[in-house]
């Protein structure tokens, strides 16, 4: 994965330079450069309409310094800028769950959050859950139980399933169905997905 290489420092510098130039020109802000940079590093941050903004995130255990436009969603950052295409775009409107990732350990729809809102956060995608060549127990269970057909919804299903078990919401098939309802499968692999989750949950492995 050449994720970090995609983010050449030049890009970032240019972004920050534009950012300073435009902040003062467009928004007539009387901020001195050191102050702006300091603000960006702390809670107060600002990016103009056509500017890229520096963002720090830890993605699948790797610390990354990125530069994004304010309107870039976390999903688009992962797929388009970092080539982490395991996370899928189904609907882009929160209606299907294909884009499910974990942020600070919790599952969210990455299509409905901005990358700039994730400053300082830890993001885990489907690419980050196996232990080297050793598949994650939920990945293994999906294979064993045929928890997919075309596979498009599967990364989202697996990320959601891992979180569902960790949250303690995999106590019964009924509870699994309710707490997995945010992941739609057009192939209708639901029964096998539930079986896979029940299997992992009753197998007692740490997920």
């Amino acid at each position: 994965m050449s994720a970090e290489n995609d983010q050449h420092p030049r890009d970032k510098q240019a972004g920050r330079r534009d950012f300073l130039k435009q902040s003062s020109a467009m928004m007539a802000l009387a901020l001195t450069p050191p102050l702006v940079i300091k603000a960006a590093a702390h809670d107060e941050a600002i990016a103009g309409i056509f500017e890229k903004m520096p963002v720090n995130m830890e993605i699948n255990g790797k610390k990354m310094q990125l530069s994004v436009e304010p309107r870039t969603t976390l999903l688009d950052l992962l797929r388009e800028q970092l080539a982490l295409t395991g996370t899928k775009k189904g609907c882009d409107h929160g209606q299907c769950g294909a884009c499910t990732v974990h942020v600070n350990g919790r599952r969210i729809n990455s299509c409905l959050t901005l990358a700039v809102m994730q400053e300082g956060n830890q993001v885990t995608t489907i690419e980050g859950i196996a232990n080297g060549d050793q598949l994650h127990p939920v990945q293994e269970a999906f294979i064993k139980h045929d928890g997919f057909q075309c596979g498009y919804c599967t990364p989202g299903q697996i990320m959601s399933a891992v979180a569902c078990i960790r949250e303690g919401h995999a106590g019964s098939p009924e509870q699994i169905r309710e707490f997995m309802s945010g992941n739609i499968c057009r192939c209708g692999a639901y029964d096998n997905i539930v079986n896979a989750i029940v299997d992992v949950k009753s197998g007692g492995k740490t997920v």
């Binding site: 990016a47 309409i49 409107h93 409905l112 901005l114 700039v116 569902c164 707490f179």
Partner: protein, 326 residues
């Protein structure tokens, strides 16, 4: 999405200023409704003010009332011990909404401010008085299966889509807001508006005003409560009709009742006459039937939601029975 500038203010005042002083600026919390609307071109904002780092994430008891910060996540609120033990109706309503992923993003303030799911409102090629004032209402003569049966107007028949808000309306919550002119408290039932001839206004929040918290007064509705949601699929769908019931039953008599509905009006719909009809009565099927009849008396349906008054009536009875027999 259109391009926009982004600010992440360090304190409340800076956030309020940023929105108050810029016509097209908006707060962004979870982003689950705003970004959806911006991607659809329904909302175009040139500046987003990220409020997520503001200290509005606490849940605590203060002078008997439960104080809930506006940035508390829907999932955290539903799972909080104080909510589960003291206001279980709110917990049930929250868990009936959206999906766990979305509840992990959605905030209390954002949930209150979410916009209608009327398909004409979402479709920018269609007339809609709410999205484009005076362009007409696509739903009145169009497909209106999901639409209102109470309090609608000739300008708009949309419904408020929230589940959380139905429980908060039933529980007599207070909304705490702070704006450029200071802070104020708004009773929850006065927060959202009926459409009248200004359907572009969903609620009474002023420009630059920020919801900081919601407060629920202490009550006796810990046991006989129920949130019933009727929808096209068993989960992850908006309500056709929902009913929040809270009963305080002592010695076989309903001491106090609270009833509110979702999916039926432009705001969470309290049913005060039905509540009055239940007070002092025994929790019997017959009394529930009478109350449900009173509650739905003024219902007015449109071409495709003719089923809703009967669905509402039956849902109220079912919810009352479920609440009473817990």
């Amino acid at each position: 999405m259109n391009q926009f500038s982004y600010v992440r203010p360090a304190n409340l005042k800076a956030a309020i200023d940023a929105v108050a002083k810029d016509k097209s600026a908006r707060f962004i919390a979870g982003g689950t409704n705003l970004l959806d609307l911006m991607k659809s071109g329904v909302v175009t904002s040139e500046k987003l003010v990220d409020i997520n780092r503001l200290p509005l994430k606490d849940i605590q008891l203060s002078e008997g009332a439960l104080h809930i910060g506006a940035l508390v996540l829907n999932s955290d609120l539903a799972a909080h011990d104080l909510v589960k033990t003291q206001h279980p109706l709110l917990s049930q309503a929250l868990l009936a909404g959206a999906s766990q992923q979305l509840r992990n993003m959605a905030t209390v303030g954002g949930n209150m401010m979410q916009r209608t799911r009327c398909t004409y409102f979402y479709d920018t090629t269609m007339p809609c008085n709410k999205r484009a004032p005076n362009s007409g209402c696509g739903a009145i003569g169009g497909i209106n299966r999901m639409h209102a049966i109470f309090g609608a107007s000739d300008s708009c028949i949309a419904v408020h889509p929230s589940d959380m808000c139905v429980a908060l309306a039933a529980l007599d919550a207070m909304v705490l807001v702070t704006g450029p002119k200071g802070s104020r408290r708004i009773p929850f039932t006065d927060f959202h508006r009926l459409p009248g001839n200004t359907p572009q206004l969903d609620n009474n929040l002023g420009k630059g005003e920020l919801i900081t918290a919601v407060e629920i007064p202490s009550n006796h509705f810990t046991k006989n409560i129920y949130y019933l949601k009727v929808r096209d699929r068993a989960s992850y769908a908006f309500a056709l009709v929902s009913v929040a019931v809270a009963l305080d039953i002592r010695d076989g008599v309903i001491h106090e009742a609270r009833l509110a509905m979702g999916g039926v009006a432009h705001k969470p719909w309290r049913l005060p006459e039905a509540e009055k009809a239940l007070a002092g009565k025994a929790p019997t099927a017959e009394n529930f039937r009478i109350a449900a009849g009173i509650a739905t008396q003024s219902a007015k349906a449109y071409k495709h939601n003719m089923f809703k008054p009967a669905l509402a009536l039956n849902s109220i009875q079912t919810a009352l029975q479920k609440a009473a027999s817990v």
